[in-house]
Symmetry: C2
Subunit: 253 residues, 2 copies
């Protein structure tokens, strides 16, 4: 299968490299930033392309891994592409490709950073396609990357993406607030790192509601009072503390 | 060293078992619930005790691992204990033991559940003591359990505990909210489990502020609007979404 990759960011990089490792041919990598295109292209032995209309229109699959709000513009410029065109976004509906012959979605539900290696083998790859034949092709390809291939509608994908914002983006921000508190008191983030890992591991075989700990779930009002005193003058942290503690208390009933 | 353990909950269980495994003698385990005392005592070859005044007052160390608000009452009943008395709480000051000869704090900064095994070897053990001699004894003991032994004042410990509430208790609640969303839409929590682990692993070698992703940090207002629409009618989730997104935006500056 001849694949072209549009984009050279985190998702494009991880997918292109995983596909190349699995034996697929990445023919071309596009980015409007020549440097980025070349860096990624070099790691997967592809040709770097900087103009969309220069892309090889005879490829079997075009993976569009650009920012959500750029997908429509990319699609416009690739009109006439005969292979399968698929984007990798959690929140853009498949219908953005209406008018193409073969299209779909190839959404890895994971957080990617270029600087960190990642094993895709248990990452959910959420697929959608405009025909059973296209779905089969995408399934076969996804199956080379992960044991966790799922058929997901655009509506379901929206929910997955929103859930991921809570479980990943908001969670990371709580880590950041925790670090802010430590830092302001001359304490290292290292104190809290093992706790962060264990908190994540605990819910791998349990549901979070069943393993909730802390003052709020115990309705330990004295500890909460002391915590709010420690946060005196830090309006935002105090507000977040109160909001989440109230929400935890409601989950008890 | 002859150790007695007051409490048979999550912290008491993990510490007693780790100490026994490291070769220490756990002489007695106390709980006011006979069953709990016996279950833990059996796993560490100790005697189960259900009345505080029956505890062996010739022990070298009494580890008090009960709920925060029960520590004062326990201390009252153990007046006259000649060994070291230490509690395991993140938020109770060491001074709760004023009047004892040798006392301190033995606080493992981790989240414990009875049903899940746990490697203590990199967990921070935060120590405080009323004398250098007692500190040395606690340090030697803690060093048998972890490579991460720290001397921490009561004031610093309060901050660590509060930071842990953000990084662990609140984080777990975000997992629970994420699951609530998935569940309401017939989607399994399994979709999000690999993401949760990766989010925690990402900050093991980076600072959370440097790896923040998601719509808020990109100031992607369109995606936020769509997410708030999906949460229409769910006042609490909407409020948390807005509160945390605003806080993420502030962190950009």
């Amino acid at each position: 299968m001849k694949i072209i990759v549009v984009g050279a960011g985190n998702v494009a990089t991880h997918l292109a490299q995983a596909l190349a490792t699995s034996g697929e041919q990445i023919a071309e990598v596009w980015s409007n930033q020549p440097n980025n295109a070349e860096v990624l292209a070099a790691t997967v032995r592809a040709k770097a392309i900087t103009k969309l209309h220069d892309l090889d229109h005879t490829a079997d699959l075009c993976l569009v891994a650009v920012k959500d709000d750029a997908i429509t513009a990319v699609a416009e410029q690739l009109r006439g592409f005969k292979g399968i065109i698929a984007h990798t976004s959690g929140s853009v509906p498949m219908s953005v490709f209406d008018g193409f012959q073969h299209y779909g979605v190839f959404y890895p539900l994971q957080t990617f950073s270029k600087t960190k290696g990642l094993d895709l083998s248990n990452v959910p790859l959420c697929l959608e396609a405009n025909s059973p034949a296209t779905m089969s092709t995408l399934e076969a390809l996804a199956g080379k990357l992960t044991g966790n291939v799922k058929s997901i509608s655009s509506e379901e994908r929206k929910i997955l993406h929103l859930s991921a914002v809570f479980a990943c983006n908001f969670t990371n921000h709580l880590y950041a607030l925790s670090n802010e508190l430590l830092d302001a008191n001359g304490l290292a983030f290292d104190f809290i790192r093992p706790l962060i890992v264990e908190t994540a591991l605990k819910v791998q075989h349990a549901l979070p509601l069943d393993v909730q700990t802390g003052p709020a779930i115990r309705n330990d009002i004295e500890t909460e009072k002391r915590h709010l005193q420690l946060l005196e003058g830090q309006k935002e942290l105090k507000n977040i503390y109160k909001t989440l503690s109230e929400s935890i208390k409601k989950s008890r009933t």
